[in-house]
């Protein structure tokens, strides 16, 4: 019998089989697998075949290539995302990638090594929950240009395409009104971009702030009044004239004058403006952790107060408010003898 040298063909020499095995492995290790792991799993496959399979998977957009401290990692790409990118070419995918990465400000040790050999240095993907709690400020178009090295016209075209596909959105920043930042469609922009509760469509709502200001002050004033009229012993009187920030917040919410949901910090900023108006004073007391409205073991209490002096003497004379004070001297065009402000004032 002649010995037939039979090369034992490994059962999964078929490239498709290899790919499927790799995909299965990736599913098993959702955080990514190194080349070493694949090699261990399928020791009979040559390196070249492995490389071909991996490249195919990458180009099909089913695998993500990441670089970590230990080497290259392959990770299964979210199939939902994979479906979205159908029909977009590489450049669009790249830009989308940049925006997605920028949406997650927290840096990790992963670096995204992009397809088609383009190296990107943006930070990788931490768990999805972290991106929502950290401030999402979006990325500026110029930054996208730097990161991708694509020319301006290309970038604009791509951004328009992505916007029409409802994958990303543009948010006007409140700090610089001409500047647009881009972020993924489904993400909420951060307060620093939209300005929080006080801005509606990039406009500062002064009237809203004023109304809230007056309402808070009236509430505190009436509290102080009732405390003063109760005529009890002074300690109790003073303590009852105080209102915690939590009480004020509840009162404002119940008033229902605000269309936007206001948090306690918002109310505290309003109360701070009242302090700067000189109408309210604040003290901080230590409070037990469990009491309502306490933050980190202390509570802020507010109280309406009167100014300590009446309008001072200088402003009761016309000279105190005169806009041309520096030009006024005896014998000049403007002098005390012919001052029209004085004439009007004397006629009161």
């Amino acid at each position: 019998m002649a010995e037939v040298k039979v090369k034992v063909q490994p059962p999964d020499a078929d490239p498709v089989e290899i790919e499927n095995r790799i995909i299965e492995l990736c599913h098993q290790f959702p955080h990514g697998i190194t080349d070493q792991v694949i090699q261990n799993e399928m020791p009979h496959i040559e390196a070249q075949q492995r490389a071909v399979a991996i490249n195919r998977l990458l180009s099909m957009g089913q695998l993500d290539l990441l670089r970590s401290n230990t080497g290259l990692l392959y990770r299964i790409k979210d199939s939902q995302n994979a479906g979205k990118m159908k029909g977009s070419d590489n450049q669009e995918k790249l830009v989308y990638q940049i925006i997605e990465d920028a949406g997650n400000k927290v840096g990790t040790e992963f670096h995204h090594v992009g397809q088609a050999g383009l190296k990107l240095l943006s930070s990788g993907d931490p768990p999805a929950s972290a991106s929502l709690s950290a401030g999402i400020t979006g990325i500026w178009s110029r930054d996208i240009r730097y990161k991708s090295n694509l020319p301006l016209t290309e970038i604009n075209k791509i951004l328009k395409n992505l916007e029409s596909k409802k994958l990303i959105k543009a948010v006007k920043s409140v700090a610089a009104s001409k500047k647009k930042v881009y972020m993924l469609y489904n993400l909420q922009p951060d307060r620093s971009v939209t300005g929080g509760a006080w801005y509606s469509d990039q406009d500062f709502e002064s009237e809203f702030v004023e109304v809230l200001n007056q309402q808070c002050f009236k509430f505190l004033q009436s509290k102080a009044e009732t405390a003063r009229e109760s005529k009890q012993n002074p300690m109790i009187q003073r303590n009852s004239s105080f209102a915690s920030s939590h009480e004020v917040w509840k009162y404002i919410c119940e008033l229902g004058i605000s269309k936007v949901e206001l948090s306690m910090e918002d109310i505290e900023t309003i109360l701070n403006t009242l302090i700067y108006d000189g109408k309210v004073e604040m003290t901080i007391i230590a409070a037990k952790e469990g009491t309502v409205g306490s933050v980190d073991g202390h509570m802020k209490l507010y109280r309406a107060v009167n100014p300590i002096i009446p309008p001072t003497g200088l402003v009761r004379a016309p000279c105190g408010l005169c806009p041309v004070f520096d030009d006024c001297h005896e014998g000049g065009e403007i002098s005390p003898s012919n001052c029209i402000y004085m004439t009007e004032w004397l006629e009161f």
């Binding site: 403006t273 003497g313 200088l314 005390p336």
Partner: protein, 534 residues
């Protein structure tokens, strides 16, 4: 001395003492201390007149003199003392509230005459009071003396420095100018005088009493020839004490505005207890125990000890920080923080001026920068909740009016503006000085306007004076009703109206001067105590 202060001094001297004194006074304020001959030469007035002017000024404590080496006497004017003349009405009014009419007239006489002996004061005041009393009643000297002694006890009037009585006669020639000394203990010591007498009513030629004055006249002349028992002991009004009183008043009213009436009464009691014991420039009063305060509360206030303790604790904890707790002995030792109180009052004055001049939003920004000490423009918008454009505008306006200043912090060594932090800050001392200067100029403007108004209507005023004189003389000689009517009609109705308006305007301007002077007082006290602390 700034230009505004010199202008104001010249206006005041002119109004109170006349042209010549004003010339000499302003010359001295401008050029510092000068000897007699130089003054006469520079101002071009005769030596005689210069001497008289200096006499007047020295009598009113506006000018002091010093003997330099080589026997040259130099005269120096005190600009700040001249400015106190604005405050005379306030001093007189305060004494009226504390010691009623008698005290008021005593202080008025002292202020108008500069220095007086006690007997002279008592006599004058008794005479004046007698005139205002009903017929038949006269003012007793003893009552006036009592009030005077009380004023001296509470340090509202003090002895002037006098020539020291040398025990052994000086062999050499007397010095060109005497050096005046006053012993600290003697400053409020009232000499033992037995002033017996009553106020004399000054009668214009009265037929009924025609016989009496003739008989009494020889007695008057003999009275004047008697030596005055307290010759050489002159008294003057103690302005520092009045200032202390005003400061206490301001603190008490501030506490009343911020808290309630009872707290302000407690603070007033504490201040009254430390009137004599604390010097006027001390930062804190002496510590007072709560027991002492309880005993010294005015009789009408019957609050229990616990309530008092609660009030004191509240006062000590208040963010105003006027009252501080310095110990626990005697039920708790409390002090009043005078410098802090003055600083708060000065800050409140600044805030009030900013509010009236620029609006309440500007006032909000001003208080914000005061609290944060140094703050960037971006942060101002966020904290004050004011739209960016308006906030910028207001900050720049306040900056241009010198209420605020910028602090630059460069990021790079080349101080490039795009790479520098600009922080807004308020320096209270310099803002107070700026405002004080403005106050001086304002008062000068008000005085000028008042003089202008009076000058405009001079003709009318003279006419009305003539008419009054005629009416008075005709009444004295017993004219008929009809004739009086006729003369009164010399002043027509519109002229009467004009006179009314003039009187009203002059009063308004006068009152306004006094109000601005209140601001000056607060700012000056604050600047003085801050400079002393440094």
């Amino acid at each position: 001395m700034t230009q505004a202060e010199i202008k104001l001094c010249s206006l005041l001297l002119q109004e109170h003492f006349g042209e010549i004194v004003e010339k000499i006074g302003v010359r001295l304020i401008r050029t510092g201390s000068q000897p007699l001959r130089v003054i006469a030469h520079d101002t071009g007035t005769s030596l005689d007149q210069v001497k008289k002017a200096l006499c007047v000024l020295a009598q009113h404590n506006l000018v002091s003199y010093q003997v330099h080496k080589r026997g040259v006497v130099e005269y120096e004017a005190q600009c700040s003392r001249v400015l106190r003349m604005l405050r005379y009405p306030r001093y007189i009014y305060t004494t009226k509230t504390l010691y009623s009419d008698t005290g008021e007239l005593i202080v008025e006489e002292l202020l108008l005459n500069g220095k007086l002996t006690m007997s002279a004061v008592v006599k004058k005041v008794a005479d004046r009071l007698t005139e205002t009393m009903e017929d038949g009643k006269t003012m007793d000297y003893a009552e006036v003396s009592n009030t005077f002694v009380r004023l001296a006890d509470t340090h509202f009037v003090q002895r002037c420095p006098s020539v020291p009585t040398t025990e052994n006669s000086d062999p050499g020639p007397p010095p060109p100018a005497p050096t005046l000394v006053i012993n600290e203990k003697d400053m409020y010591l009232v000499p033992k005088l037995s002033l017996i007498g009553k106020g004399k009513r000054r009668r214009s030629s009265d037929e009924d009493a025609a016989g009496e004055p003739k008989a009494k006249r020889p007695k008057y002349t003999t009275d004047n020839k008697e030596p005055i028992p307290d010759d050489g002991i002159y008294w003057q009004a103690n302005l520092d004490r009045f200032h202390q009183h005003f400061r206490d008043q301001a603190i008490v009213s501030a506490v009343a505005n911020r808290m309630d009436q009872t707290s302000s009464e407690i603070v007033r009691t504490m201040l009254r207890m430390s009137e004599i014991t604390t010097s006027s420039s001390a930062p804190f009063t002496q510590p007072l125990s709560s027991n002492e305060i309880f005993r010294s509360l005015p009789v009408g206030y019957n609050i229990s000890k616990q309530v008092l303790d609660q009030y004191l604790t509240l006062l000590a904890d208040d963010p105003l920080e006027f009252v501080g707790k310095s110990g626990d002995s005697g039920g708790g030792m409390y002090v009043i923080n005078l410098h802090k109180a003055l600083a708060s009052l000065a800050t409140a004055t600044l805030e009030s001026v900013v509010q009236e001049r620029f609006g309440s939003r500007c006032a909000r920004i001003f208080r914000l920068v005061l609290e944060k000490k140094h703050i960037e423009q971006k942060q101002v918008e966020d904290f004050a909740m004011i739209p960016a454009k308006e906030a910028k505008d207001m900050l720049y306006k306040m900056l241009s009016e010198n209420f605020m200043s910028l602090q630059e912090i460069p990021k790079t060594p080349d101080h490039a503006p795009s790479r520098t932090f600009y922080l807004y800050t308020v320096n209270i001392l310099s803002a107070a000085r700026m405002l004080l200067h403005r106050c001086y100029k304002s008062i000068a403007n008000l005085i000028e306007r008042r003089q202008f108004e009076t000058k405009e209507n001079k003709r009318l005023l003279e006419k009305s004076q003539r008419v009054e004189a005629i009416i008075a003389s005709m009444q004295a000689t017993g004219a008929e009703e009809a004739q009086l009517q006729e003369i009164e009609e010399m002043i027509t109705a519109p002229e009467r109206q004009q006179l009314e308006t003039l009187k009203r305007n002059v009063n308004k301007l006068d009152a306004s001067e006094i109000q601005v002077d209140e601001t000056i007082f607060l700012l000056e006290s604050y600047i003085e105590c801050t400079m002393k602390r440094q």
